[in-house]
């Protein structure tokens, strides 16, 4: 079936197709007599990424955005749902085939200190995705490593050094070089700049943009920072407690957002400008992931919530062209004056 799709309409086939992804984790038992609790880290997430386009995933801690990244990278088996890359379901592939398929999707992690093995040379670290695919002679390997190091703005001579000899920003470049070496079509980047200093952050974001222009890469960029996602992505998904609550182009989301949570996020961004007075925010209680409430998960924090919201969970629906929101009051939210970002 997948073969058929590939041959019939190659142009329309999405690079990545995520369907109704659900991930539950079982909590450690608190008591022998009670059933073990469960956390719904992902609650039915559907998304697709076309080749050369980028998807930003925004959310706060507990929104499920990192779980989403791990599932896209096939580092975990989902409880249900599917992740397909170029029409092939990653979780139904035999292990050997999945290993070969991994050349097409690579990952960049948040912590530039933890994501590089301190006991390996840069050459070994960067070559890892290649050596994982099979044997390769040393000269070719070093040639490839030198090539990607230059692409990320480092030098050939850096190959024989160890991670501790580099600054945070340089380490993140090394991590990006590692992701590039197999010439992937998709790079999943989980908070790639949040551990970096502001002045270095900009260098790495520019690099990511350059690489996209140069190689036609797609990114899935996971971040808590709206501005970072806005800078790099064609489409943004806002996640809240394991669900996508709003999805659309950056222009749609920032000019007229349709979900109260997106609006809260936008309003919370402090603005770096003179005369920035404090805007008071109402106290908000924090919802928990394990509660199996029936209504909208955001209702307890939402200023617009009514009884209907608390009873009936809203579905993700179209509120504009390619603009989706999961809110009963989406139209009312969109009618509000824009929440200017900083």
């Amino acid at each position: 079936m997948t073969m058929l799709q590939q041959t019939s309409s190659p142009a329309e086939l999405p690079l990545l197709d995520v369907k109704d992804l659900v991930q539950r984790y079982t909590l450690p038992r608190e008591s022998m007599f009670k059933p073990a609790g469960q956390v719904h880290a992902l609650n039915g997430v559907t998304a697709r990424v076309m080749a050369g386009r980028s998807l930003g995933v925004v959310g706060e801690s507990g929104s499920g955005k990192s779980t989403f990244a791990r599932l896209v990278m096939a580092l975990e088996q989902p409880s249900s749902g599917s992740v397909s890359l170029m029409g092939r379901d990653l979780n139904r592939m035999p292990a050997g085939e999945l290993r070969r398929a991994r050349r097409d999707f690579q990952m960049v992690f948040q912590d530039p200190y933890g994501s590089l093995d301190p006991r390996q040379t840069i050459a070994r670290i960067v070559a890892e995705p290649l050596t994982a695919l099979g044997r390769m002679d040393r000269a070719t390997l070093r040639g490839r490593v030198a090539g990607v190091l230059r692409q990320v703005g480092l030098r050939d001579a850096d190959m024989d050094k160890f991670p501790h000899e580099f600054s945070g920003g340089q380490r993140q470049r090394i991590a990006i070089a590692r992701a590039l070496i197999t010439q992937p079509k998709l790079i999943v980047a989980d908070e790639p700049v949040s551990a970096l200093d502001v002045s270095v952050q900009a260098q790495v974001l520019n690099l990511l943009q350059d690489l996209q222009d140069q190689f036609g890469l797609s990114y899935i960029l996971i971040s808590h920072d709206l501005a970072v996602v806005d800078y790099l992505c064609d489409e943004i998904a806002v996640m809240y407690l394991g669900r996508i609550v709003e999805q659309g182009s950056p222009e749609d989301l920032f000019a007229h957002c349709a979900h109260p949570y997106t609006r809260a996020l936008l309003e919370a961004v402090p603005r770096a400008s003179a005369g920035g007075t404090r805007r008071r925010r109402g106290a908000q209680s924090i919802a928990s992931q394990s509660t199996g409430a029936t209504g909208c998960a955001y209702a307890s924090r939402c200023p617009l919530a009514d009884q209907y919201c608390r009873d009936t969970a809203p579905a993700l629906r179209n509120v504009g062209t390619a603009h989706l929101a999961a809110c009963h009051h989406a139209e009312a939210v969109m009618a509000l004056p824009p929440a200017a970002g900083g």
């Binding site: 502001v198 900009a202 770096a272 003179a274 920035g276």
Partner: protein, 337 residues
């Protein structure tokens, strides 16, 4: 608690701090001076290793023993540099308090939050255990912890990150300090929680007439929360002034670079971020002249000769740069709506 409104509560003159790092001795802070009146708020902004946290630790008397402090720190006129640890202990948590970045590591996981909030009270005042507990509940209630009376005997791990930060704020406020130092108090928190915590701190500062020093790497947080600000780089203050004045027209190439390098919401797609070349220098090998010289786009030979003097570009707005005529030719900054 003496002193009139116009005398500075805290006055720092030419503060210098030498630290022993793994790469040898390093001048972590050079020539930092500022004064803060009762009720005023001051922001310290900069990147990793710029000296902002070291300055805060110096104010708290919490530097390692090997650190060499020069200059003067006066609280209500009395000198703190060279004060014995025992005497500093009487000030810490009593007249000067600090809130840290990571609430989980600032709290002892083995003690109830009630006990931890009551601890400074028990140490610095002679109130009974019952009174301290009552006060702790009142404080926890004030910082917005839901069900404070019921949860006073809970342990730190039973709270969310934001709630834990509320607990550390209650701890810092227990003895009604004159000066509150908040070192990246919201960096570990989600953005919607960040707003609540900053609101809480601002409210408490106004309500109790405290002075606050807010340390952050985020220009936005500084712009919205303090009256005056200092930008630090490589252990020196490169720019200082009223927050509005600095944001209206930035004078130092570093402040400007930091401002331009931030990705902004709604910036047109395809625009490139303006970067500052190079990386943040290590404290052990700072350049001898202007600390920013190696990364500056308008650097000249004389920048590398000696640390530039502070130039007043407008009343109370000082810039440590010899080339403000060039750097300020183009207005860099933003005025909010």
């Amino acid at each position: 608690m003496s002193g009139s409104i116009n005398t500075p509560l805290i006055e720092v003159r030419d503060l210098g701090i030498r630290l022993n790092t793994s790469r040898g001795p390093a001048q972590a802070v050079r020539g930092v001076s500022f004064s803060l009146k009762r009720g005023e708020t001051l922001g310290l902004v900069g990147e990793s290793g710029c000296g902002k946290s070291v300055t805060a630790l110096a104010l708290m008397g919490l530097l390692p023993d090997s650190a060499v402090v020069s200059g003067s720190i006066r609280l209500d006129g009395s000198e703190l540099v060279g004060l014995s640890d025992a005497n500093y202990g009487k000030l810490r948590g009593n007249r000067i308090s600090m809130i840290f970045q990571e609430p989980m590591t600032a709290l002892n996981p083995m003690h109830t939050i009630g006990r931890q909030v009551a601890e400074p009270l028990r140490r610095h005042t002679n109130c009974s255990a019952a009174e301290a507990r009552k006060e702790a509940i009142a404080l926890l209630d004030r910082v917005g912890l839901p069900d404070a009376a019921k949860r006073v005997d809970a342990y730190p791990h039973q709270f969310s990150g934001g709630q834990r930060q509320r607990v550390t704020i209650a701890m810092a406020l227990a003895c009604q300090p004159d000066v509150l130092i908040a070192d990246e108090p919201t960096t570990a928190l989600d953005v919607t929680i960040q707003g609540q915590i900053l609101d809480l701190i601002a409210g408490l500062v106004a309500e109790r007439g405290m002075s606050m020093i807010l340390i952050s790497h985020d220009l936005g947080v500084i712009a919205e929360n303090v009256q005056r600000m200092m930008v630090m780089y490589g252990g020196t203050v490169v720019e200082s002034g009223a927050t509005n004045a600095v944001f209206t027209r930035m004078g130092h190439p570093y402040t400007q670079g930091l401002f331009r390098a931030r990705p902004r919401l709604g910036a047109r797609k395809g625009t490139r971020l303006q970067t500052i070349a190079g990386t943040v220098p290590e404290l052990a090998d700072l350049p001898s002249g202007c600390t920013f010289a190696d990364r500056c786009a308008i650097v000249e030979d004389r920048c590398r000769m000696a640390l530039p003097a502070v130039v007043d570009v407008s009343a109370g707005h000082g810039v440590r740069c010899v080339r403000t005529d060039v750097s300020m030719a183009e207005a860099v900054g933003a005025v909010g709506a």
